[in-house]
Symmetry: C2
Subunit: 422 residues, 2 copies
Amino acid sequence: MTVEETLMSSLDFAPLLASGLPPGAAKWNGLAKYSFVGGNNDGELVPVDDLIAAMSAVLKREGKDLATYGLASGPQGYRPLREFLSAKLKRTAGIACTADEILVTSGSLQALDLVNGILLDCGDTIITEAETYQGSLNRWTRLGVDAVGIPLDRDGMRMDALAAALDDLKRRGVRAKYIYTIPTVQNPTGTILPEARRLELLRLSRQHGVPIFEDDCYADLIWNGQRPPALYSMSRHGGVIHIGSFSKSIAPALRVGYIIAEWSLLSRMLALKTDAGSGALEQMVLGEYCPQHFDAHVPPLTCGLRSKLETLMDALNEQFGTAAEFDDPKGGIFLWVKLPDAVDTMKLYQAGLAAGVAINPGPEWSTDKAYGRSRMRLCFASPSHEAIRAGVATLAEVCRREFGVPERIGNVQRAQASGPSP
Amino acid sequence: MTVEETLMSSLDFAPLLASGLPPGAAKWNGLAKYSFVGGNNDGELVPVDDLIAAMSAVLKREGKDLATYGLASGPQGYRPLREFLSAKLKRTAGIACTADEILVTSGSLQALDLVNGILLDCGDTIITEAETYQGSLNRWTRLGVDAVGIPLDRDGMRMDALAAALDDLKRRGVRAKYIYTIPTVQNPTGTILPEARRLELLRLSRQHGVPIFEDDCYADLIWNGQRPPALYSMSRHGGVIHIGSFSKSIAPALRVGYIIAEWSLLSRMLALKTDAGSGALEQMVLGEYCPQHFDAHVPPLTCGLRSKLETLMDALNEQFGTAAEFDDPKGGIFLWVKLPDAVDTMKLYQAGLAAGVAINPGPEWSTDKAYGRSRMRLCFASPSHEAIRAGVATLAEVCRREFGVPERIGNVQRAQASGPSP
């Protein structure tokens, strides 16, 4: 191109882009009319008034500290928030750690990126529950990491299958970088790994020298409030990295998560955390609100979520009848649903969007795409009870039109059998 | 190691770490007694009461939206904040862009990472002002990118030197990925690139097909409030990526910055922004506070900063006499100081820390380490007037002890010549 031509035309960035970039994001078109996707919560259950009071109090007292990066608490995050986490995790999860072993992150997503950043190279292998969080699966794919999926049953990851997978990797001379697990309200299955399996998981981890990456970000949302101790707390030999979040227990838009790990790892993650600290206002308001209100806030929250789950399960029974199979999850904000084998949920997802219903298709939440083909994840925290009923009804119509199931007659029988919903 | 040995010992992560990691971060030891480092601001000038009022108002009205990722504004950030930025940048920088061309980031540091992420591969070359922001220099080093430094004079980057560098790269068959510039209150020199040079910079950029990366994060802090139009606004052919921040104009701990670029680039950056949005509270409070208060907030802020700069320059004249050379910057929060050639500021930095004084050694802010050897950056916004005087006095003592300059007698003469400070 001559100088004249260059001066006339606008600069083309295409030849300047870095190699191996993911495709560009699509323009955002707003939320679907009936949205059963994303970790969104119930707006009615955000403790707005208490958050305002906490924010006013902490800013009156410490607002001038906003002029200093990290609020003069250093790069690991606002110290009063880390002190609360240290006490709360001791009480609820049995974790004995000081504020110095905690790194506050921009949501648990930055925690995933930092843990992956210090441990994973392209070509590495990790082990994970075969059905798991889409965001984790996408990260491994993007990093060129091989994810070995371990099947689950109603008590979470199957230890016999994990032992077999570890032995197989050993035979192949492969040392996995970590075993990723969401043991406490698993995403998407809603299972909780019992204490006996946690002990076996820790034994296998140590025997094979493969650490455990424990993602506990739904652990506060258990219907009966009873949780097993965290894997991090049960390990007498280290080897566990623990992450959590306030996204599900307070509000996802806050973007406050945390990592608990030994300093030799936290110091490496800090070197990769190039954002000069996460948002101060979120850390300040949580550091002020939580010590006083967190424990009282959770039970009404889980109660409200449980009520929406029941509305969703009733609506699925009424609209899909026997065509929708699911287990009653022990907590959380999502339901993992099996549809007849004839249903391809990737196609149902597209047809549903066109009808104003958003779902998470199973293949995006499974290491085994064929296994996930007829499954879907439905998030129930954000839509109203009415929207849940109307959305499921619309989804059933779309599914019937596209795949011939559910058959109308089956629903009527099932609806009569199960009786009218509350 | 046998199974038994493994079970007895704690898991060693060292062999599991990813390749090419930077060294681990050091434990944080708090701020120095006299801290002249970091982009910290004056705590007395944070508009705490107005921020509390804005936060209360916006949370009362929209607090329930915290239950939805991105506040239902989508991944580019809280729309009212982007609308404010669109209007403010049109008024102050001449930039005509809609809210859809703005991506809100976690400070301008995430903006640097996202722009670098879509454009830079290891082995690439970029062009930059020879004296520039340490955080940008560190990123290029970490990415394995070759940074070609262009000398500055009192009007910023020298266009004759830029033209020569571009011609030289062309001869070598190298197309730089971008020309990085901080044209409006340059860091660390405090210079402002005049409009004529901006036109020449744009001409050279288009002639060589090398885009401009405009970092404008200090542009609000100009003593006389007069700024040239942004390079982004002057380009009639695109080819410019513009970033800015609220860290210097409101408060650094907020971590709110932004990127303005064409959608073909923003969409690629969005695909790399894996944090599900930046902190909502910061975006909400700024979206509420700024339309009403931003313009009135800035003049008293810059007036207070100017007054601290004068205290710093007076203290340097008193304590260092002719041994400290500097130009009076046109705005900002830092002063770039030349000490006698005998002074190695990397050594002065270490000796100063031991005496409770923190400075930025010149080599960390220069592409030419030898040129930066006897230079240092002093940030003056955070310490009080008294701390500035005491800190400079301590630094002069350390410098005299370590390098024999400044000589006491010189200071006395200079102090008498310049008269007592206000």
